[in-house]
């Protein structure tokens, strides 16, 4: 690998009239957009836009077909066997709220009415999006919200998980990859453990899908959710995968047009399948852009992406580790690093000794380096680890060795300025 990213040129933001010297290290928040994706959205809005699923005319039928075809593309992308298992929404946040309301709440409510105790299990690393909905349900049904500890390596403690699951566990919701620690949970193994206890599983894939081939069939989770914009796709679009066998018993979430087969003023019948969860007009431009993003990644190929990202992640971690004032949130054991170099995280969260995280981020910004500072919507995780905020650097396709060098130089400068 040369030091330059072979794909940087695909991202117009780096062009000479825009931000050629931008060092963007916040892909975990949102990915920059490749021209392919922006073009696809543009062409859709300009030349193909119409209402999907409702018009009999050709323009509308074509849009319907685009949306239905997108289900297949997405299913294929995450290893689902059928497009019927794919429902579109506005993002990971909505996906989790949807599952909480449509699938989990009726189960909890039922147990509650029967006087049976319930508990919900999540992990200590969860993003607020995968915590708050469960907190609300736990409160409403007097259920216990159990939190699986993480190991020193930043992944779920499987022994603790096994202890927490029991016959009253109504759901296990966990992130495939933490947006703070960048570590992948062994999702297959976790779902297998859950299955032994007959506990349905929801996987927050927001951070995982852009970093390697996802296979929901192998993971064997009940639900998997993610957002297009963290996958080089457009804003406002997300995906819920679910085992179709659940769809029938699930109640619709938001209510509106297109999800009903028969309505009068006193009652309504709902349609079956994934569309039951898609009321109102589809965000077709978002879906079209998501498909384009998937095709873009497919054209590059996972092996090439992973090779680039792994080398870069290793360089990032090694370079940061050499800074004497660097305080990572999680210290990967040297043994593990040596044994599994490919598991180096492409998201790192850290602090600089005696320098506040927000000062670090501001000072880096003055050198055109974009990192995130704060709790990254994972405040309880930070509390668990005994800090209030960290600086987070995360890698994307456009990054290369020079970005890491800039970051290190920027950190050095910030440290000297604030403490020198």
């Amino acid at each position: 690998m040369t030091s330059a990213s072979p794909w940087k040129q695909d991202f117009p933001i780096f062009s000479s009239h825009a931000h050629p010297s931008l060092c963007y290290l916040d892909s975990a928040a949102t990915c920059l957009t490749p021209k392919h994706v922006a073009d696809a959205v543009y062409h859709y809005q300009c030349y193909s836009h119409a209402n999907s699923h409702k018009g009999l005319y050709q323009l509308s039928a074509n849009v319907t077909e685009k949306v239905e075809h997108a289900r297949e593309t997405v299913a294929d992308f995450i290893g689902a066997t059928s497009g019927a298992s794919i429902s579109f929404n506005s993002g990971t946040t909505e996906g989790i709220n949807l599952i909480a309301f449509s699938f989990v709440e009726p189960i909890l409510s039922d147990a509650y009415k029967k006087g049976k105790p319930s508990n919900l299990v999540i992990s200590a690393v969860e993003h607020h999006a995968n915590l708050l909905p469960w907190q609300r349900l736990a409160e409403r049904y007097q259920a216990e919200l159990r939190v699986v500890k993480i190991t020193d390596e930043g992944i779920m403690d499987l022994a603790h998980l096994s202890q927490l699951l029991d016959n009253n566990t109504r759901v296990l919701a966990f992130s495939h990859c933490s947006n703070v620690l960048g570590r992948f949970n062994p999702a297959e193994q976790i779902c297998r453990i859950a299955k032994r206890h007959h506990v349905p599983t929801i996987v927050d894939g927001a951070q995982a899908v852009a970093h390697g081939k996802t296979n929901v069939s192998a993971i064997d989770c009940d639900f998997y959710v993610f957002s297009a914009h963290k996958l080089y796709g457009p804003t406002g679009c997300g995906v819920m995968y679910g085992k179709t066998e659940h769809f029938e018993q699930m109640r619709p979430y938001q209510l509106g047009g297109g999800i009903v087969s028969k309505v009068n003023f006193t009652e309504s019948d709902f349609v079956a399948g994934a569309t039951k969860f898609e009321p109102g007009s589809h965000h077709v431009a978002g879906i079209v852009g998501l498909v384009e993003a998937i095709e873009y990644l497919h054209d590059i190929s996972w092996p090439d992406i992973q090779q680039h990202m792994e080398k870069l992640a290793l360089y990032l971690n090694t370079s940061l580790n050499e800074l004497p004032y660097y305080q990572p949130l999680i210290v990967p054991s040297a043994k593990r690093l040596a044994a599994q170099p490919t598991e180096v995280a492409s998201i790192v969260s850290f602090r600089l000794k005696n320098v506040h995280c927000h000062d670090v981020a501001s000072l880096l910004d003055s050198n055109n380096i974009a990192v995130r500072a704060g709790h990254h919507c994972a405040q309880p995780l930070h509390e668990t680890l005994g800090v209030t905020a960290t600086v987070r650097a995360s890698l994307g396709l456009y990054n290369d060795f020079s970005d890491v060098d800039k970051l290190v130089a920027g950190l050095d400068q910030a440290y000297q300025l604030m403490t020198g």
Binding site: H36, D39, A40, H43, Y44, Y47, S48, G55, L56, Q58, A61, T64, E65, V260, S261, K262, V271, V288, E292, E295, Y296, D299
Partner: protein
């Protein structure tokens, strides 16, 4: 990769040989077979197509496992109506087993664009004009799914 490649200049959607409303189909629409026919139904079912608002009832008289008479009722679009009319015209005299087998074939031909062969091809080919109009396939299918329901139900 971009969608530009998918854009085509306007093409009039009516080519005589691909038009949705072919003469054969229109003929059935205008003079439907079995429409509002009074028969001594042994089996019947109601079918509704929510998108289109089609609402059709298929009734059959079965005697000794053979379809002696067929009729349909209700309000529907021309495609659905023509489909029902062809069904009433051509299934009379067949056994239940034959009808179910034929229904499978016609449904496959409509929903998966599988060609029909033999006599069925002649009888039902006009229905296949929906091939190019995915939204209208359900209109042509409705009488057939409703018929199957009728046969599976005990009246």
């Amino acid at each position: 990769m971009s969608e530009a490649s998918q854009q085509k200049p306007d093409q009039p959607a009516v080519h005589d040989d691909h038009a949705l409303y072919q003469q054969a189909l229109l003929a059935h629409h205008k003079s439907p077979v079995g429409y509002n026919l009074a028969i001594v139904a042994t089996h019947s079912a109601q079918g509704v197509n929510a998108t289109c608002g089609d609402d059709i009832k298929i009734a059959v008289e079965i005697e000794q496992n053979y379809l002696q008479a067929l009729a349909f009722y209700g309000d529907s679009c021309a495609i659905c109506r023509a489909s029902a009319s062809m069904l009433c015209q051509h299934l009379k005299g067949l056994s239940v087993a034959e009808v179910l087998a034929l229904s499978q074939k016609v449904k496959a031909s409509l929903s998966e664009n599988v060609s029909l062969i033999g006599v069925a091809a002649e009888q039902f080919e006009p229905l296949r004009s929906v091939e190019k109009f995915p939204v209208r396939k359900q209109c042509a299918l409705l009488p057939w799914t409703t018929l199957e329901q009728a046969l599976n139900a005990t009246s």
